[in-house]
C-alpha cells in the first residue's frame, strides 16, 4: 500500500512537469513578439523593453525555464506586471471566495446528483428515470452563465430571496456566507450534477443486475438497504472517479460564475489578468488550478481502497 502511494505520487511529477513546461512555453509559442503583445497597442518601445527584461525574454529558453521552475518550487510565482505585487500574494487574497464556491458546489452536487442517479436506476424506465435523463441533457446543454443569469433574475431580482451579486467572507458568519453562495453554486453545479447523475445511474443499473443483489433481496433486506448499502457501495469507484474528473468543469466554470455574480475570486483575477495581459498572474493561476486538479485526482485514486476492499495495492 505504502509503496503504491509513493509510486502514484511520483507519477504525478512528470505530469506537473509537462503542465509547467506548457504554461511556461506559451509565451514563446505565441506568434509575434510576446513582450509587444503583452504591452499592448499603446506601449512605447521602452515599455516593451521593460517587459522583455522583467520576463527575461532576452535570455535563452532553457535557462529561463530552469530558473522559473526553481523559483516556483520555492513558492515564488513571480511578480505581476500590472500591480507589481507578488503573484502568490494576489492569489492568497482571492482564494477564499473561489474555494468556498467550489466546495459548496461540490457538496451540493454530490448530495443532489447521487440520489438522483440511484432513484433513476432503481425506477429504470419510469417517468422519474426519464426526467433525470432529460435533466442531464439539459444540464450539459445550458451554459453556466445562462443558468446563472436566469437564477439571479428570478430568485434574486424578482423574488428577492438571495443577494443578486457579491460575496460575504466566511468570517462574517455561516448564514450570510452561504446565502451569497447558493445561486452561484446551483449555476456552477448544473453540468456537474448532470455528469454525476448520469454515471451514477449507469453504474447502478449494472450493479443492480448482480447476483449478490438478488441474494440480498432473497434474504429479505429492505429496498433502501439494498440500494444504498449493497449497490451504491459497489458502484462507488466509477462515481468517485467522475466526481474527480468533473472538478475540471468546476474550475473552468468558476471563472465564468464569478464574472456573472461579481465574486472577487481567482476567476475574476484570471479574467482581469487576461484583459491586462498580465502574464505572470495567468501562469500562476493556471499552474495552481492544474496542481489542485492533479492533487484531487491523486487523492481519489488513493481512496479506492476505502470503497472497495478488493482493490489492494
Amino acid at each position: 500500500m505504502f509503496a503504491y502511494i509513493v509510486r502514484r505520487v511520483l507519477a504525478t511529477i512528470p505530469v506537473m512537469a509537462i503542465v509547467a513546461l506548457f504554461v511556461f512555453s506559451l509565451l514563446y509559442i505565441a506568434p509575434g513578439d510576446p513582450a509587444a503583445v503583452i504591452a499592448g497597442d499603446q506601449a512605447t518601445p521602452a515599455d516593451v523593453e521593460r517587459i522583455r527584461q522583467s520576463l527575461g525574454l532576452d535570455r535563452p529558453f532553457l535557462v529561463r525555464f530552469g530558473e522559473w521552475v526553481f523559483r516556483i518550487l520555492q513558492g515564488d510565482l513571480g511578480v505581476s506586471i500590472f500591480t507589481n505585487l507578488p503573484v502568490t500574494r494576489m492569489i492568497a487574497q482571492r482564494i477564499e471566495p473561489t474555494l468556498s464556491l467550489m466546495v459548496v458546489t461540490l457538496v451540493l452536487a454530490v448530495v443532489i446528483a447521487v440520489p438522483m442517479g440511484v432513484v433513476a436506476a432503481w425506477k429504470h424506465g419510469s417517468w422519474i428515470d426519464r426526467l433525470v435523463m432529460a435533466f442531464a441533457v439539459l444540464g450539459f446543454s445550458v451554459p453556466v452563465f445562462v443558468v446563472g443569469y436566469l437564477l439571479a433574475y428570478y430568485f434574486a431580482l424578482q423574488l428577492d430571496w438571495f443577494p443578486v451579486q457579491g460575496y460575504t467572507p466566511f468570517s462574517e458568519g455561516f448564514g450570510p456566507w452561504f446565502r451569497n453562495l447558493v445561486l452561484p453554486s446551483i449555476a456552477l453545479g448544473g453540468v456537474y450534477i448532470a455528469l454525476i447523475a448520469r454515471i451514477t445511474r449507469a453504474t447502478m443499473l449494472e450493479v443492480l443486475q448482480q447476483d449478490y443483489i438478488r441474494t440480498a433481496r432473497a434474504k429479505g433486506a429492505g429496498q433502501r438497504t439494498i440500494l444504498f448499502l449493497h449497490a451504491l457501495k459497489n458502484a462507488a469507484v466509477p462515481i468517485v472517479t467522475v466526481i474527480g474528473i468533473g472538478v475540471a468543469l468546476l474550475i473552468g466554470g468558476a471563472v465564468v460564475t464569478e464574472s456573472v455574480f461579481a465574486i472577487p475570486g481567482l476567476g475574476r483575477l484570471t479574467v482581469d489578468a487576461i484583459l491586462r495581459r498580465d502574464y505572470p498572474v495567468i501562469q500562476g493561476v493556471i499552474l495552481l488550478f492544474s496542481f489542485v486538479y492533479v492533487l484531487v485526482n491523486l487523492l481519489i485514486d488513493l481512496s479506492y481502497t476505502l470503497f472497495d476492499p478488493r482493490i489492494r495495492y
Binding site: F140, S141, Y153, V256, I274, I282, I286, F289
Partner: protein, 303 residues
C-alpha cells in the same frame, strides 16, 4: 402527420396480426430510422434550422448588426426591434441572428480540426510503440489543465480572431480525441481479422486504411458532436470574459458580455443570445446522444 410518417402502432392496428407485425417489421428507410431515434430527428432539425438562420441571416428581416443608432438606445423589444436594442442602439435581433454564424463556425471548425488532428495523433500512438508513451504523457499533462483555462491561456497571448478562437479550443480538445482513437486502435489491433491481415503480409498503411479507420468512424462521429457542443459553449465563455471573438464581430458571447452591465434593467440583451446558444447546444447534444444510441446499441442500454 401524413400517412408516410404514421407511427408503427397505427400501421399495426390496421393489420390482422398487430403486435408481432409491429415488432418484427420496423419501418425501413430514413424516416423509419428517425422514428426509432427521435433525438436524432429533433436535434438534427433544430441544428438545420440554426444552419439556415446562419446562412440566410441577411434576408431574415435583419438590419446591419453593427449599425449604431444612439437615439434608439436600450429600447425594449417591440415591433420595430423584435429583441430590443443594446446600449449603442444596435438591433439585438440582427446581432443574435448574425451571431449564429460565429457559433456554428467555431463549433464545426473545432469539431473537424480536433477530429482530424486527434485521429492522426491517436493512430500514431496506437501503432508506433516508442512514440506512444511520450505522446500519452504529453496528453496527460495537457488534460490536467482544465480545457477552458487552456483555451483562455492560449487566447491571452494572441490577438482575438475567430481563427485563433478555433485554434485555441482545438488544442484544448485534442487530448481527449487522441485518447479515444488510441483506445479504439489498441483494441482493434487484437482482433483476429487484423492479425490475419498482418499475417498475410498487408502493409501497415493499408491495414490502417481498410481495417482501422472504418472502425474509428462511429465513435469519432459521436465524439465530434460532443466536441462541437462544448466548443460552442467555450467560444461563448471566451467572448463573454473578453478573451474570444473581437467585440466588433457579433457573437452570442459578445452580445451577452455587452449586456452584462445593464442586465438588471435590460435582461433581454443577455437572455436572447442565451436562449439561442442553449437551443443550439441542446440540438447538437441530442444529435450526439441519438447517434451514440444508434451507432453503439450496447452503450445505449447502459448510459
Amino acid at each position: 402527420m401524413s400517412t408516410t410518417t404514421q407511427p408503427p402502432q397505427g400501421v399495426a392496428a390496421a393489420t390482422p396480426m398487430p403486435d408481432i407485425m409491429a415488432v418484427r417489421k420496423p419501418r425501413k428507410g430514413f424516416l423509419g430510422y428517425l422514428m426509432r431515434h427521435p433525438t436524432i430527428g429533433i436535434g438534427g432539425f433544430l441544428l438545420l434550422l440554426m444552419v439556415a438562420v446562419a446562412i440566410f441571416a441577411p434576408w431574415l428581416w435583419t438590419k446591419d448588426p453593427t449599425a449604431l443608432a444612439p437615439v434608439m438606445r436600450t429600447r425594449n423589444p417591440s415591433a420595430a426591434a423584435w429583441f430590443g436594442t443594446d446600449m449603442l442602439g444596435r438591433d439585438v435581433y440582427s446581432r443574435v441572428l448574425y451571431g449564429t454564424r460565429v457559433s456554428l463556425m467555431v463549433g464545426f471548425g473545432v469539431a473537424i480540426a480536433a477530429s482530424v488532428i486527434g485521429l492522426f495523433i491517436g493512430l500514431v500512438s496506437g501503432f508506433v510503440r516508442w512514440a506512444d508513451s511520450i505522446i500519452m504523457r504529453i496528453m496527460d499533462g495537457l488534460m490536467s489543465i482544465p480545457s477552458i483555462l487552456l483555451a483562455i491561456a492560449l487566447m491571452a497571448l494572441t490577438r482575438g480572431s475567430v481563427g485563433n478562437v478555433i485554434l485555441a479550443i482545438t488544442i484544448a480538445e485534442i487530448p481527449r480525441v487522441s485518447r479515444l482513437v488510441r483506445g479504439v486502435v489498441l483494441s482493434l489491433r487484437e482482433q483476429p481479422y487484423v492479425d490475419a491481415a498482418i499475417a498475410s503480409g498487408t502493409r501497415t498503411p493499408v491495414i490502417i486504411w481498410r481495417h482501422i479507420l472504418p472502425n474509428t468512424l462511429a465513435p469519432m462521429t459521436v465524439q465530434a458532436t460532443y466536441i462541437c457542443a462544448s466548443a460552442m459553449i467555450t467560444e461563448a465563455i471566451l467572448s463573454f470574459i473578453g478573451a474570444g471573438t473581437p467585440p466588433i464581430i457579433p457573437s452570442w458571447g459578445n452580445i451577452m458580455a455587452e449586456g452584462r452591465a445593464l442586465w438588471q434593467v435590460k435582461p433581454y440583451i443577455v437572455f436572447f443570445p442565451a436562449i439561442f446558444l442553449s437551443v443550439t447546444v441542446l440540438a447538437v447534444n441530442l444529435l450526439g446522444d441519438g447517434l451514440r444510441d444508434s451507432l453503439d446499441p450496447r452503450l445505449a442500454k447502459r448510459v
